[in-house]
Each structure stands twice: as structure tokens, then as C-alpha cells.
Amino acid sequence: MNLDWIPYLIGAVVGVPVVLVLYILGTDWVIRRLPDDLQPRARPWLWVGPALILVTGFLIYPTIATAWISLLSKDGTRFVGLSNFAQVLSDNSVLIAIRNNIYWLVFYTGLVLVFGVILAVMADRVPYEGPVKSLIFMPMAISFVAAGVIWRFMFSFQPPGAPQTGTLNAVWTSIFQQQPIAWLIDHRINNFALIFAAVWIWTGFAMVIISAALKGIPPELTEAARVDGATELQVFFRITVPLLAPTLTVIGTTLVIFALKAFDIVYVMTGGLYDTDVMARRMYGEMFNNLNFGTSAAIAMILLLAVIPVLVFNLRRFQVQEAIR
């Protein structure tokens, strides 16, 4: 057996802490030798220094480089201005990908939140809450790729008359006596089939967080409402939902970002064919199938621009929360 990796492992396990300790001691040594009035000003910069270097190297530099590449020709040799963007945005298949991203944005985010709230509220009222929540949470432990493979089997299609190997079509044809549906091919439903697979994964996550928020609502409030004669629905919409709003926003914005960068499920289940392409898959295709770095970077920039409002919104909200505290 090849044991070459063992020294590397030892090096990593021992070396990383050693380097850390050396850095801490080293900065301390440097700071103590600085003039007294400089010390408090230098200290924070030296402490965040490594993080700054990493962020620059792994986030800021790649972003700027991508922006630059998006202005270059396919092979990166000529400056072509904004023509990559013009080409991308006039391409019908890209427009379909954008439309699909909007589907993802609306339906993925919406369904996860709605299912999450419903399940959390319902689980709250039954004695076997723990096991139910564990079961629903379980898909979170599965990677998107694995989930895509699983759902491909679920959605599998065989022609009418042949034994249906896909769970959904087996149920659909035997219990409801209907013609089998090509879930992943039929362009009227395939996007929703993909989104549903993603919803299946994330609903448990939303449910767990909403459930925790639910427990934080003081029972006096809902009881007082009930005493005042509010119906259960009124209590839910007038008391529970408003109090859950901050939690729902946090999950919602996370989901929006997820919807914009949706890739794995689409790549595994349809490869972006049959009108199910999304921007992130398309970016991959331009890069690795077409070797077109310019248009790929242009799509990356469009995605970045789409995410920025969500990021700004999130940051604003953090600031507001900090202010309240």
C-alpha cells in the first residue's frame, strides 16, 4: 500500500498549529516593539492580516479577474468590450436559463418556506415531534448530486404499457390509471420536477429553524388571542407569522441565493437540456464544454449582479439588528 500521504498528514496536523502559534507569538513580539501610541492601531490589522490576505486571494482577486475576462474574447487574447454580454443576453437559450432561474427563485424559495412553516406548526402540536422532524430533516444530509440521482430514479419514465420503473410513474399509472408522464422531458413540468427535488432537500432545514423560532414565541401571546376569541387561523396569520417574519427573511434570503446558484440538481438530472438550463449550469457549459472563457465570465458577472441586491438587503438587516441590540 502506498503510504506517502502519512508524512503530509503529520505535517498538516502538527504544522498548522505550529504556524498559528508562531504567527501569534510573532505578531505579539512585533507589536511590543512598536511605539506605545502605534500599538493599539497596529494590533487589529496584524490580527486580521491573514484573513485579509485570504479574502483578497480567494474572493476579491477572482472577482476582478472574472470581470476582466468577461471583457475578453473567447480565448482571452483580445479585448472585445461588452460584446460577450450582448451575445449572452441575445441568446435565446440564455433567456430560457434566466426564466428558469426566476422559476427557481419564486417556487423554490416559496415552497420551502411554505412547507417549512406548515410542517413546523404541525409538528409543534403532536407528541412525536422529534422523530417526525428528524425524518423530514434527513434529506439535508444528502448532497445535491446524490439527491439528483435519487430523483432521477423517482422520475424515471417508461412508455405506456411497459413496467414503470420510476416510483412516481408507477403510482401514477397503477393507482390513478393514467398515462405515464415524462417528468424530466415534458417542458411544461420538468422545471418544477427539478425544483421539487431541491425543495425536498431544504424543507427540513427551514422547518427546523422555523420550529426553533416558533418555540421562542411566548405562549401568553397566542393564549391571550385565543381568550379574546381569535380563531386558529387568525392566531396563525395575525400572531405567529408576524413574529416569525425575521426568521423567514433570513431563510428566504439564503434560499434566494441558493436558487440563483442552482447547479447540481440540473446538471445531474437533465444536464440543462429540454429547456431546464439555469445560469450556473450554462456558465459551466460555456467554460468546460465550449471552452469559451469570455461568455462564461460574462454569465458569472450577471449572476453576481443578480446576487448583490440580496447581499445588500442582508447586510442592511444585520445593521438594523445590531442597532436594536
Binding site: P7, I10, V21, L25, F157, P159, A182, G271, L273, Y274
Partner: protein
């Protein structure tokens, strides 16, 4: 922390760091070099390749670390960009090979292989296809015949068709499948084009077969070289000839939903079921190993047989689409050179040939090396092909080939879009994509 304690911490830390460095990686003592090899082959094909390199490993003491990926293109691009290419790799096709070669990523094999042996043992076309700008950068380690039509001899007779003398022309073929349809009221053809990121390619094989036999080898070669418009009437006719079969739910098992959602590796399954769901399957010669994987009891000749795609225009009789698996070297080393050289030899190629599923492009691998009649027949077809025309899709660059695959999917999904699909492909070609 007083300074003496600080000093002690320092010295311990330095000691540990030194120790770590001392027991750092040492060069492997076994002497053999590990070669990193990437290709698309998995399953039986992977086993055959490993069997093929085994004698070389035993002889040289080197080792092949084989990695299989269905998305070789992406893997190669990433690893080349990262400056960490594999030693050797199975290349997706001559088109991509040329791209890699022009970017200076492939090592010239002129001095690695025995060029005299190459020229005498391989057909001229095979060497030419591996050459970019006068330098040999790719070698073919196996070949396949495209566009064979497979059938089950037992069920085909019951369906009222006699293939003891195979259809000579496409008109005969149409007559045969019409008879099957009328006699059995079943769909004659099984077609499946799903193949992950490359979905659609089995359909492109149909189009190539039609185009070669309708428009002729000259136009076909121009097409492969990127000099033939995609929206020409001949091209449209070739697509429509394929469409006449694939878009007719009376002729194709399961209609478009089955065609689009079924992997090429299982599309033929209904042909061997009882009762059969279809009677004919169009695919390259490699497909037989998929037959026997799904139905281990199947025997060649008694349970499945094939004939070449029939001629269409009598002017171009004998033209045949062939394809092959290219291998190129990304990192130069003595071991990699020796492996490349070994892979071109008849001794190496015989191994895969004897295991089945491959035809050797090396003429010294004689017909008696083929263990079954079917591979022998395919090898004969390869030798008799006049002219053997390489897969025109594989000659295109990545973007165009991917678009060709995708165009087939789109066409099957929505045949009325044919004009816009072809115009889009033409636009890609002329924009020099």
C-alpha cells in the same frame, strides 16, 4: 509571559517544525513510476483497457493509475488550466485534440512512437487524423464502426423480414421496417439519446450516416473540416431522414419521451424482451458489450446480429462512418513515452480485441484475432470501407459538437424548429466558435 518561557515555547515549536520536515515525503522506493491516465471508459471497457496495459506494467514495473470520467472534457480543461494535467488521456475526439495541440498542451509523439511502424501498420487516414500541424499528437488505440443496424435474428423472422441478405439500400430498409410495423403492429426501432452532458450524440450518428450516403464523401469531408454550411439543403435532408424515423411514434419505441429519457446504453432493452418492444437498433459496434451486460445469456449470431447502414445514393456505395479512441500525452516522461509506444503495437491492441468490444485500427491485428464472428464482421467492414470516413461530429470543436448534440435533442423534442436549429449551428460555424 516572561521572556524565558517565551523562549522555551519557541524552541519547542521550532523542534516540532524541524521534526515534521525531517519525516517529510521521501521519494517512492519501488522504482516504478505511477502514470496518471484519464479516459471515459468505465465498467467492462475499463477492465479491457487495464488488461491491455497489464503486460506493460509487468514488464516495466511502472503502474497506471486509471481515472474514469464521463465528463473528460471538463476534467481535462480544469486540470490543464490548473497546471496539473494527467500523463496520458483518452481524448474526446480529433476536434478537441486539435484544440489542445494548438494550445501547446499536447506533447508531440513523433519521437515517442516508431513512425515507420505507424505508417506501415495503420491506414493512412488514422495517422493523418492524429496529426496536427505536421506533428503526431494522438494515436488510435481502438476503432469502431458507426451506424451498424442490430437485430435479433429470432424475432426478426417472426416479424416477417428476412435479413439473411441484408438490405442493400435505404429503400429496402424502409420496406423492411414497414413490413415489421404492419405485421406486428409494434414499433420497429429502439432509439435512446440520453447520455448525460453529451445527450443527443446517438442521433448525430444517424445524421452522419444519412449525410455521408446522400451527399457523398466529398461534402462529408468538407463538413468535418468545418467548410460545409449547416443549413444547406443536403444537411436538412439528412436531419429530416432521421426525423422520419425518430419523430414517428409508430416507428420508434415509446415515442419522443422514451427516446429523450433513455440512456443509449439501455435503449435497446425492449428488443430483447419477450415479447419484443422493437426489432431494430442503430448503434456503433461497441454496443454489443452493453447487450451482454444487460442480458448476459445473449449469444452473438443466434441472439443478435447486424449489418452495415445501407447505401442511399448508388454513386457513393461503400462509404462508411468510422470512429476511434484517441490517446494523447500531456506530460512528457520516459514512462509515458514507453506506454504510448506500447499502446500502438499490435500485441497490445490484440488484448482488447480478444476481450471483445473493440476493433483494432492496426492492420497487423489480423482477422483471426477476433474471437467472435461479429467483431470479425465489423473488422471486415472497417477494412472494406470505401472510403472510411471519420466521425464528422468528433472532428468539430467542442462548442459546435455540443451544439450538434443539443440540436438533436431539441429536434426530437420539437421537430418544427429544425430550421432555427440548423441556422444556429451555422451561426456557430461561421462565427468561428
Amino acid at each position: 509571559m516572561d521572556s524565558s518561557r517565551l523562549g522555551r515555547v519557541f524552541s519547542v515549536a521550532i523542534l516540532v517544525a524541524l521534526l515534521t520536515a525531517a519525516c517529510g515525503p521521501t521519494s517512492s522506493s519501488s522504482g516504478g513510476k505511477h502514470l496518471d491516465v484519464i479516459a471515459t471508459w468505465s465498467g467492462d471497457e475499463q477492465k479491457s483497457f487495464l488488461a491491455m496495459v497489464k503486460p506493460w506494467e509487468d514488464q516495466t514495473g511502472n503502474k497506471v493509475d486509471f481515472e474514469s470520467s464521463r465528463d473528460v472534457n471538463a476534467l481535462l480543461t480544469t486540470r490543464i488550466q490548473a497546471g496539473n494535467p494527467p500523463d496520458l488521456a483518452g481524448l474526446p475526439g480529433p476536434g478537441q485534440m486539435a484544440q489542445f495541440a494548438k494550445a501547446g498542451k499536447l506533447v508531440s509523439l513523433d519521437s515517442a512512437v516508431d513512425m515507420n511502424a505507424m505508417n506501415s501498420q495503420y491506414g493512412q487516414n488514422w495517422v493523418k487524423l492524429g496529426t496536427v500541424n505536421g506533428k503526431l499528437v494522438g494515436i488510435f488505440i481502438k476503432a469502431s464502426i458507426k451506424g451498424l443496424i442490430y437485430y435479433d435474428p429470432k424475432t426478426i423472422t417472426a416479424a416477417g423480414v428476412d435479413f439473411s441478405s441484408p438490405p442493400k439500400t435505404w429503400d429496402d430498409m424502409v420496406a423492411a421496417y414497414t413490413t415489421i410495423r404492419q405485421k406486428t403492429n409494434k414499433t420497429p426501432w429502439c432509439i435512446g439519446v440520453e447520455s448525460g452532458a453529451a445527450s443527443g450524440w446517438p442521433g448525430t450518428d444517424w445524421v452522419k450516416d444519412f449525410f455521408l450516403r446522400q451527399a457523398g464523401p466529398t461534402k462529408y469531408e468538407a463538413w468535418g473540416a468545418g467548410q460545409e454550411p449547416w443549413n444547406s439543403p443536403e444537411m436538412k435532408t439528412a436531419w429530416q431522414s432521421f426525423g422520419a424515423v425518430v419523430n414517428n411514434p409508430n416507428l420508434t419505441y415509446g415515442g419522443k419521451n422514451y427516446v429523450l429519457s433513455t440512456n443509449f446504453g439501455t435503449a435497446f432493452d425492449p428488443m430483447f424482451q419477450n415479447p419484443p418492444g422493437c426489432y431494430l437498433h442503430h448503434q456503433a459496434s461497441f454496443i454489443t458489450s452493453f447487450f451482454t451486460h444487460d442480458f448476459p445469456s445473449l449469444q452473438p449470431n443466434t441472439d443478435f446480429n447486424f449489418f452495415g447502414f445501407p447505401d442511399i445514393n448508388s454513386q457513393y456505395t461503400g462509404a462508411q462512418v468510422v470512429a476511434g479512441d484517441l490517446f494523447g500525452m500531456f506530460k512528457d516522461s520516459a514512462a509515458a513515452r514507453s506506454l504510448i509506444k506500447y499502446l500502438t503495437t499490435p500485441d497490445a491492441q490484440k488484448i482488447w480485441v480478444k476481450r471483445g468490444g473493440a476493433i483494432s485500427p492496426n492492420k497487423q491485428v489480423t482477422l483471426d484475432n477476433y474471437t467472435d464472428d461479429q467483431s470479425k464482421k465489423a473488422a471486415q467492414l472497417l477494412l472494406a470501407a470505401n472510403p472510411p470516413e471519420f466521425d464528422a461530429g468528433d472532428l468539430q470543436d467542442n462548442a459546435l459538437q455540443t451544439a450538434f448534440f443539443g440540436g438533436i435533442v431539441q429536434y426530437i423534442q420539437n421537430p418544427s424548429q429544425l430550421d432555427s436549429i440548423l441556422n444556429h449551428l451555422e451561426q456557430l460555424r461561421t462565427s468561428g466558435a
